[in-house]
Symmetry: C2
Subunit: 465 residues, 2 copies
């Protein structure tokens, strides 16, 4: 396979030489980018970094001691790798403590279920909460529940996420994000949901949830898919089902954490930078290998490959490790605020791309830039063709995950798309561990990001235009 790839690349490089004469992406740039890509593909660095992160740091719940360990680890690594500049930028975030969570069906048949608190949830009253379950097929049915109709009950949303993709995740995820508000409006004393996940493991999925101004804050938790099946089966028998819920999760006063940045300083316009990013924080149930250890290792290793390539980009390349993505893109929103208001230099972040998609191999690139520069991004995209990466003919990308906060604030962006994976089997669960990572895939992705970042920072173009 390796031989074939190399031959395909050689062929592509030759044909590109012929057609790239009048291009902004020059032959020399393409040659260097391919060298970066080839060296990246031969390297074990991306694998080494994610192994180090998950082994030496573990989870990185925002604001905790482990979050700090993660930041120290990242800064030390990037300094050792030879980044020109490594620094932190402060972000104030809510601090949430998971505590313990347990749930037991008490009638008509006693059974324990596997449960996790949703991020941001309040605790149950001292001694727990015992109440009858009121089942809803999905979020919209819960929203339609009349005021006081759930008094003294625990709401339960049983919808199973459809398929394994983002669409099903987004739809079912409404119950996680906003179910507590809907349930509280109808008088419920707590809400439990079927995990938003595509697996059948008794490893329930956490994730962030919201409260609303003026609506009682009630405890919110997720049971695993097999436990939801059990509860559904028991409810089908027709007798009232009562559960006892015990949670000690709670929020503390806000704390300061930090976005971590590493820079390869540009030779001609160092104040301008292409940003490649991922989020350093994770949930606390596992080592955050897929979410977003892969992104962290891809970005850090991509930068190192560029450093080792020996030719500095004309503008800077910033590896951005965002803080507190899981709690709601806190690091990204603060970056936009600070660089608009405090530093007045937000426009210097000229183009951004994130990886927060787990372990899938990149198969396409989708631009979101100005109409004139679009062609230049497509020229870059063509360089990836021999690597199995096609360029989408749209121009609507706004940045993924954290980067969407920057994209929505006006930064041009590129989204990398990937092959389908079983990401939502493991997302936000105790199963988000190193063994789930496809090392050749993330090595491939690091090669693409290295080539992309170097070309994007070097080519002479204004992505706003």
């Amino acid at each position: 396979m390796k031989k074939l790839t190399m031959m395909a690349l050689a062929g592509a490089m030759i044909s590109f030489t012929a057609s790239a004469q009048d291009s902004a992406v020059t032959d020399d740039m393409i040659e260097h980018a391919n060298m970066l890509g080839q060296n990246a593909l031969k390297s074990s660095l991306t694998e080494d970094i994610i192994t180090s992160l998950t082994t030496e740091v573990g989870h990185r719940l925002a604001g905790t001691a482990n979050d700090k360990k993660g930041r120290e680890w990242a800064m030390a690594k990037m300094l050792a790798m030879g980044y020109d500049r490594v620094w932190e930028e402060p972000v104030t975030i809510p601090l949430w403590h998971r505590g313990s969570a347990s749930v037991r069906i008490t009638a008509p048949y006693q059974q324990n279920m596997a449960i996790v608190a949703l991020g941001n949830s309040v605790r149950t009253p001292e001694g727990g909460l015992t109440a009858e379950v009121a089942q809803f097929d999905e979020y919209k049915d819960l929203v339609a529940a009349a005021p006081n109709s759930l008094n003294g009950k625990i709401a339960y949303v049983s919808l199973r996420m459809d398929g394994s993709g983002l669409k099903g995740y987004g739809y079912a995820g409404q119950a996680r994000r906003n179910g507590s508000v809907a349930a509280a409006k109808a008088g419920a004393s707590a809400i439990i949901i079927r995990s938003i996940g595509s697996d059948d493991n008794r490893t329930p999925h956490t994730g962030s949830m919201n409260y609303a101004e003026g609506v009682t804050q009630i405890p919110a938790a997720a049971i695993s898919n097999p436990d939801a099946d059990l509860l559904d089966n028991m409810l089908k028998y027709g007798e009232p089902v009562t559960i006892e819920l015990n949670m000690t999760s709670h929020s503390h006063d806000p704390v300061v954490t930090y976005n971590v940045l590493g820079e390869i300083t540009g030779t001609e316009e160092p104040e301008k930078a292409v940003m490649i990013g991922a989020h350093l924080d994770s949930w606390d149930l596992a080592t955050g290998a897929l979410d977003d250890g892969t992104g962290v290792s891809i970005m850090m290793s991509a930068g190192k490959h560029i450093i080792d390539g020996g030719i500095k980009p004309k503008r800077s390349i910033r590896v951005m490790l965002f803080a507190a993505e899981e709690e709601g893109l806190y690091g990204a929103h603060e970056y936009v605020r600070a660089h608009k208001e405090d530093h007045n230099d937000f426009g210097n972040t000229i183009l951004g791309a994130e990886w927060d998609s787990g372990t899938g191999r990149i198969i396409n690139i989708a631009p979101g830039v100005g109409p004139t520069s679009l062609n230049v991004v497509r020229e870059m995209g063509a360089v990836f063709a021999p690597y199995g990466v096609s360029t989408l003919m749209t121009n609507t990308a706004k940045g993924q995950s954290d980067m969407s906060a920057l994209g929505n604030a006006g930064m041009p962006a590129v989204n990398f798309g990937m092959e389908p994976t079983n990401y939502f089997d493991f997302h936000h669960t105790p199963n988000d561990t190193l063994d789930k990572v496809d090392m050749p895939a993330i090595t491939h992705n690091a090669a693409i990001y290295a080539m992309f970042a170097w070309m994007a920072a070097t080519v002479d173009v204004d992505y706003q235009k």
Copy 2:
């Protein structure tokens, strides 16, 4: 598919009619057996029973209140189904309490791991046990450890079970069954093992373990495969790894539980019986759907199909739900002892077959009977051919799981073999739940067991001869 199966069956029945003139298994018997099989395949009973068991009872750890619930459930069900006789036979068993188990890597990097106590394990001292990890690639290396070489250390066996079959399970399982003895002989204060399982979930696998006379009893536990990977990676970095282990598992005085039996009484020799069995007990981490809820539901529904078939067998059919298989075939051994010594009627259990293999579809039958009766078993086997079940040409079966205790004591037996499954992904874990059960497969298996039991109890043959 259903139509095709029916046509294939019709063809097979016709061809068998021609060839079965001089057989012990008569045309009438074959016709009735096929009727039983067809009715079983159309029925949802096997599915209903396992749904009821897992929903209404849950786990059935031997000697616990849930074990009692399971027995009451089984007796009530079988009485309601119209079994002629339903009763219990006492079995004295050890009573073990799982308590809690936790483990934390304390140096060089702090991480929590997912762990479960092995069945029968003693607890750690008050306040837990903190010690350096001494890694062994596999059980035989631990056995070779010199006396006192592990003083003040916790032994760790890192071998991953090879493949997903019984052979890999048996080999790797030595560390679970006997590792504590080997570790204690070398002076270790505890042993942890990589889970004996084929999955990559953070749902560690429990299972029984042994102590030996005169050897110090040390705590024994299993970490999940992803956690073992993490520990292996940390050990590879070369620094000493220290863990803190906390377990409160402990044994109580022996208690009495019961084998549960349901009988369809034979018309001619009611004291003689064909036994079809499964074990009613389970581990306590899940609902014991695969291990051995499937066997329980297959046997109970097979009996009910025979009852509904309207023709009583000549000899009795006993559905045997064994007690305390997980702790070491206690119910089976006691059955042998009691029926040899107390009742002097062990020889009346003329043939036995068990299902303790999860959710795989039966694809073959392996006899273990006398040389003269072998041909009769093969005649029965031929009846299963249109159902995709072949007859193996061996004659060495001794009975599976509990039934092997009876087989080793001299009872003729039949083993049913199955298609490969991912049984060892879920075996002895919190993931052994109803969603893992292939309902069409266990319905198929119930049809085979119904046909088998009825023919085996009706045909005129002595399986000892």
